[in-house]
Amino acid sequence: MKRRSKAIGTSAIILIAVLLTAVVLFATLQTDLTTESARNEQNPLYVQSQSIVQVRLGKSATANNVTFRVQNVMNGTDPEARQVWATYDTDHYAPLNPVQGSTYVIINATVASAINGTSPFRYSDVVCVGNDGRSYYANYAVGNASCSASLAAERLKPGGACSVYVAFSVPDDVAPTKIVYTASNPAISVDLV
């Protein structure tokens, strides 16, 4: 009888130990999943290239074959942005109503070929850097007819500047600190603050 009681007691202790281990492992796994989820959901940290040209808002910089200037920065509710989106019928494809917890940052940039020929340019090479230190990549771009054609062809024609509006989706609590054209060497960094 005594031996049986001892066996039952040992079994109970082992069972409790196994259950506790399972609970701890499950909790650890949950924490890992939550951490992993939060990490992957965030945009990558911005890593500044070694060689940059730094300019202020409204000032032009030329690097390689492209001249780049950020004229203005606005949000998705700005009448200017709304007007541009409506004029070019873009809102039917990309309404400026962000997902919950996010907002659109929209820049108006002027880009031009700096040589006597066409220059490659992709608006997706323009990155918005937030005050959280992360890179936010372009969502959509709008320009006038000839500019949109250049954007679609990813080449700037010689002569004349292209005025382009580029939208970025950023978290509500993040403010843009700089706009970086990353395709040139040196990269062109426009300070917004």
Binding site: D32, H92, Y93, A94, P95, S124, A152, S169
Partner: protein, 425 residues
């Protein structure tokens, strides 16, 4: 107990163990078969753009096939759903549909473009029709149909982190806009730019998942399960998966409500249109009901939102009244899937709200168990919608007292189906 008298017991035990093993092993075998462990499976992949809502989740942005062998997806092959894409199309990619009656009666046609053919009320009905149409257009047979919408793409990218497509960084924040940009600026009718972009994105996601560590794979499984519950991921694989993944109509008896909307002509508006479903029902002393259903749309876009909306309610419902707060056509009452359907076409002006209200009677749906009455309402969420607000109110027969109730009240914001229950005496 002698050995002879124990024999039947032993036989019965062996049979029971065999049945238990079979019941466990058969679903596993089915699942392994679906994942291509016995021989390669080919699935029709349907990418539904739920920013332009259609009955089964969204506009058919892209379709194609993907092979699965030993659990590994390979050979992703996508194409745009325009009529010019299909070599076997002798009729301009036009498909003949035989329902639902609400659609064929309202639009006066049984002929639709392939890309507009998801007019059925649920994916489980649409999927085999889509597979048959795909075979007719391309000559290719598939083992099942998998649907993903753009919300699923976002959630997958949240799980995997950013991927690089054609030197562009694609994140959950920009994926929908990027797909729309590539589609809008594609120069050819077959939109090869779009299909190339989506194929590379799909292959990058697959590669990221294959290279993931166990924790990331578990996270992905959890994401897929949630997407399936919210009907952003739908899988039709007859015989291979238990029900619940194919978005089938869940008419379980009792009261039932399933609002199915299609945005025809409202552009990529649906992530910016909020829906509220308000359902008030009055249970009479004889168990019959009089119900008021109001569907409210808030259009946050700068243009008209035009929606063809159908409410599926229990069979035998009699519509008494329909009221609209904006430009509308209807109501049209038909029957489908053992249910009564009430349809209307409604226009919601920019930056404004509009609603449609139906009043109808229902035959007795209330169950009883002894002295207790039992009212059940199942509210099914349409595939492709991220979330909606549900308000419910149940008025009981005279003198009835509530014993228990769940999900009755206002302001329930939900991204899935809702079971409303009231027990009274």
């Amino acid at each position: 107990m002698t050995s002879d008298s124990g024999r039947p017991v032993r036989y019965a035990t062996v049979v029971i163990i065999a049945l238990v093993l079979l019941s466990v092993l058969l679903p596993i075998a089915d699942a392994l078969s679906a994942l291509g462990y016995f021989h390669e499976k080919t699935y029709l992949l349907v990418l539904q753009d739920n920013t332009e809502l259609r009955n089964t989740g969204g506009f058919l942005a892209c379709v194609g096939t993907i092979d699965v062998q030993n659990g590994e997806p390979t050979n992703l092959n996508l194409h745009y759903t325009s009529n010019s894409t299909y070599a076997n199309s002798t009729n301009g990619g036009i498909i003949k549909i035989d329902g639902p009656q609400s659609f064929t009666d309202f639009y006066g046609t049984q002929l639709v473009h392939f890309r507009d053919m998801n007019v059925q009320y649920d994916f489980a009905t649409f999927a085999p029709l889509c597979a048959a149409a795909y075979k007719e257009l391309t000559g290719q047979t598939v083992d099942g149909v998998i649907s993903l919408d753009f919300s699923a793409l976002q959630e997958l990218l949240k799980t995997t982190g950013p991927v690089t497509v054609g030197n562009e960084v694609i994140t959950w924040r920009n994926v929908i806009d990027r797909v729309h940009y590539v589609s809008a600026t594609a120069t050819e009718a077959s939109k090869t730019d779009l299909t190339a972009f989506l194929t590379e994105l799909g292959n990058k996601l697959i590669a990221t998942v294959q290279a993931a560590d166990p924790v990331e794979k578990l996270l992905l499984l959890s994401t897929l399960q949630t997407l399936s519950q919210q009907q952003h991921l739908l899988i039709y694989a007859p015989g291979a998966l238990p029900s619940g993944y194919d978005g089938a109509i869940q008419n379980k008896g009792g009261d039932y409500l399933y609002v199915v909307d299609s945005n025809y002509g409202g552009g990529k508006a649906d992530l910016n249109v909020n829906r509220t479903i308000t359902y008030q029902t009055h249970i009479e002393d004889n168990g019959t009901q009089t119900s008021n259903l109001t569907i409210t749309y808030v259009n946050n876009c700068g243009w008209d939102y035009k929606v063809f909306t159908t409410a599926l309610v229990p069979n035998g419902a009699q519509l008494l009244d329909a009221r609209y707060s904006s430009q509308a056509l209807g109501p049209l009452v038909t029957a489908s899937d053992g249910l009564t359907t009430i349809s209307s076409w409604v226009v919601v002006a920019p930056h404004s709200a509009a609603n449609v209200t139906y009043t109808y009677t229902l035959p007795a749906t209330v169950g009883s168990a002894g002295v207790f009455g039992h009212y059940d309402l199942y509210v099914q969420k349409q595939a492709g919608i991220d979330h909606y607000t549900l308000n419910t109110d149940v008025t009981l027969p005279h003198g009835a007292q509530v014993i228990h109730e769940s999900n009755v009240g206002n302001g329930t914001v939900t991204s899935g189906d809702v079971q409303v229950e009231v027990i009274y005496r």
